[in-house]
């Protein structure tokens, strides 16, 4: 039995679509060849940020078009791009400090902690909290809390203090990764060994093995236990 179609409104225009479709597939069902507002189609890239209201409900809802199923009366628009200022910086010339954050994004201190950003995040990130962390200079906390950010820009679009939360967050993540996270010593050692040519002969030997010799070696290799 075919599904009974339901009405949705794409930028105010009514279309009848199957109720099991995601917003993205519903737009394509309606006939849109999407160019903006599509990316990975899997919830990772932030291209398809969508805002909508449901019939008879004043509340503003958000979702990723590729992951959100349509509902009868859904009244939607996509936000495929929102102007978000990114400061110019060279990571290698920065220090992982509060002063750096404030110098790079002075508007950081305008944050009102109103929580609108948290309400509107499709990844359920506590954006308000990481902005509070940033205002205290706790770069590691910002890095941890903001990690799942797909930089869709919904928070930017709604922020009354005109912040650019995702850009502040990625600066913190990079500062953390480069300066605050402990370095992998074994990695630096291995890099030095490789650059000194220590593995050249071993790999050259492997390259000279015949397919049969390689096959034998492969079938007999020992596997590191779990």
């Amino acid at each position: 039995m075919a599904e009974e179609l339901i009405p949705i409104f794409i930028m105010g225009k009514k279309y009848m679509v199957p109720p099991s479709l995601t917003i993205m597939k519903a737009m394509e069902y309606a006939g849109y060849q999407l160019i903006r507002g599509v990316g990975c189609r899997g919830g990772f890239c932030g291209a398809c940020a969508t805002v909508y209201r449901l019939a008879g409900d004043y509340r503003l809802q958000i979702g990723l078009a590729c992951q959100t199923v349509v509902e009868p009366g859904m009244y939607l628009a996509q936000i495929p791009f929102y102007p978000a200022y990114r400061a110019d910086y060279y990571l290698q010339e920065m220090e992982p400090t509060f002063q750096t954050l404030v110098k790079t994004y002075p508007e950081l201190l305008r944050c009102l902690s109103c929580g609108t950003c948290t309400k509107v995040c499709p990844q359920d990130i506590d954006v308000k909290q990481y902005m509070a962390d940033a205002m205290r200079g706790d770069i590691a906390a910002v890095a941890d809390r903001s990690f799942d950010c797909i930089m869709c820009g919904l928070c930017v679009s709604r922020c009354p203090a005109e912040e650019v939360q995702p850009n502040i967050a990625i600066l913190c993540r990079r500062l953390y990764g480069k300066y605050l996270a402990p370095k992998a010593e074994h990695l630096a050692e291995r890099v030095a060994e490789i650059e000194a040519g220590q593995f050249d002969d071993d790999v050259a030997k492997m390259k000279n093995l015949s397919k049969e010799e390689l096959r034998k070696m492969y079938n007999e290799r020992d596997i590191e236990p779990e």
Binding site: L21, Y29, G42, F44, Y90, F147, K178, A184, K207, Y218
Partner: protein, 536 residues
């Protein structure tokens, strides 16, 4: 959207067998068993799914029907469509495609003195890189070495890989991890800084580095942010795919014609060297499979390169990822990272029984899942007619402690959570999905091709992985060869003297198509898949 009563019954069986299974290791297949199962069940071996390409320098090369149609396509242009004297952008290195490979290439090209333009079809960072979840391989632990990594890569690739490319891959691997660490990538680490590394399919050492299960996204957004630090040297164009390469009258590649997707304007980019980094082709849906790939993965770069005479390799093998989501219907085909199995989750049939070692190489694992459903009838049906088997994720918390799934696989928890499925408590339903283009443009270790001034890097290329890629070697390939191609292109650009720009190769191509009697030509590259329903 959560599970139907029938599916729940099957899940109950999975839960019943779990305590015993925690101590069971299903045996790995012998080489003969592997070969047999591939021949009987792997989509590559379905002869009706492939055909030979009828034109071009690699005429006779077998590839999926859908790809052959696109590769035999006509150009969007003729040689006199545009006045090539009117140049919109003039640069040292043009990078076509700004994913992990393209962005790595741009950074290294700039470092080696080149002015760079990156032309993106969609946004900068809209690439398969952004969706890669599991991790990136590198032999940087004391119990491991590039030689051991080499052996794993060759074995996974059925010993068909090009040795020089594998050598480059495994020796550059630790260097690339260090580079990413220095750029600020947040790899999973122990408190003392030691990289947390796990197994993947086909690995003999735990050398998979990850950033939770957003490994690709972490790498992509870091590279993208770094590129944005150099606006004077690297110009990033968006919604401007290349629709044809430009050559000069000396037979060198000399740039490309870009199409502004939003205005329809054509742009002429003159470049001393051109790097193709357009990624994969999953959106061509070979054999009707769903895909993990992003919207723009339509094999554009293959079409462009082939028209100027670049040779192809290993396009008769596509990688199907064993665990694509099979339920709910809204996310069918999307990637469920191999890291789930790397953390110990087992694959179970409708009766809750294991039927394959969880970490065979992807081609073997996929074949086993297909066999379990198709031949043995032990798959679980979904209301939409999809079939799948269970990936027992709750086991992970039992093996490694509560909270492990949430900590190590946040993207998966979120993806299924949106549809009311809690993967920390309930298994996921999975089935093979079209994932990766093992082959492509034939490459040298420095990223150059046979065509003068044309370079390539990443999923678009063929030879590194032989006939099957291992998990974690794609994020590795894009950074290793992206960097190599960027550097080589920048150095080569210093010596290049371009002649008069021409699109005469487009006319020659059209002639070749006509002489081969190829009719009903589609125009290619197709740029985007068309998912619209047929309207009146």
């Amino acid at each position: 959207m959560s599970y139907t009563p029938e599916m729940r019954e099957s899940i109950n069986k999975v839960e019943a067998t779990r305590p015993a299974r925690l101590h069971e290791t299903f045996p790995m297949m012998s080489p003969q068993e592997k070969q047999t199962i591939l021949e009987k069940f792997h989509p590559d071996y379905r002869a009706e799914g492939m055909r030979e390409i009828r034109v071009g320098v690699s005429k006779g090369h077998r590839m999926p029907l859908e790809l052959a149609d696109v590769m035999e396509g006509a150009s969007h242009l003729t040689s006199d469509t545009l006045d090539l004297e009117q140049i919109d952008y003039d640069t040292d290195v043009l990078v076509i495609g700004g994913g992990g490979a393209g962005s790595s290439a741009a950074l290294l090209a700039r470092e080696n003195g080149a002015k760079v333009i990156i032309a993106n079809k969609l946004r900068h960072g809209d690439a398969n890189t952004m969706m890669a979840q599991g991790g990136i391989q590198a032999a940087d632990k004391p119990n491991d070495s590039p030689a051991i990594h080499y052996l794993d890569v060759m074995g996974g690739g059925h010993f068909a890989n090009y040795p020089d490319l594998v050598e480059a891959l495994v020796k550059d691997a630790p260097l690339v991890i260090k580079w990413l660490e220095d750029l600020g990538c947040m790899f999973d680490k122990e408190p003392d800084g030691t990289m947390k590394t796990i197994h993947g399919g086909g690995t003999s050492r735990k050398r998979m580095h990850s950033a939770r299960d957003y490994s690709g996204a972490e790498i992509m957004r870091t590279l993208r942010d770094e590129v944005r630090s150099y606006p004077e040297d690297i110009t990033v164009l968006e919604f401007a795919p290349a629709i044809e390469l430009i050559m000069d009258d000396k037979g060198q590649v000399a740039g490309a014609v870009l199409l502004n997707m939003e205005t329809g304007e054509h742009l002429v980019v003159r470049a001393k060297c051109t790097i193709l980094a357009t990624g994969g082709s999953g959106r061509l849906h070979y054999q009707g499979f769903a895909t993990t790939n992003h919207y723009g993965a339509t094999g554009d770069g293959l079409v462009l390169a082939y028209r100027v005479g670049a040779k192809l390799a290993f396009l008769d093998t596509m990688q199907y990822h064993p665990t694509g989501a099979a339920y709910p219907e809204q996310i069918v085909g999307l990637l469920v990272t191999e890291k789930v199995r790397g953390l110990g989750a087992q694959v179970c049939n409708m009766d809750g029984n294991q039927f394959v070692y969880p970490r065979e190489t992807r081609d073997v694992e996929s074949s086993a899942l297909i066999r379990e459903c198709a031949e043995r009838g032990k798959g679980v049906m979904t209301p939409s007619g999809m079939v799948g088997v269970w990936l027992d994720s709750p086991m992970i918390d039992v093996l490694h402690g509560p909270g492990t799934v949430e900590k190590e696989l946040p993207a998966m928890v979120r993806q299924f959570g949106r549809f009311d499925i809690d993967i920390t408590k309930e298994p996921m339903l999975v089935y093979p999905t079209l994932h990766y283009q093992n082959g492509g443009i034939s490459l040298k270790p420095d990223g150059s091709t046979d065509v003068p001034n044309l370079f390539a890097a990443g999923e678009i290329s063929g030879g590194v992985h032989g006939r099957n890629r291992l998990m974690g070697n794609s994020l590795l390939e894009i950074t290793v060869f992206g960097r190599r191609a960027g550097k080589a292109a920048a150095l080569r650009a210093k010596e290049v003297k371009l002649g008069k720009l021409t699109l005469s190769h487009v006319d020659k191509w059209q002639q070749e198509l006509e002489e081969a009697g190829i009719e009903n030509l589609i125009k290619s590259p197709i740029l985007l898949p068309d998912y619209r329903r047929k309207l009146r």
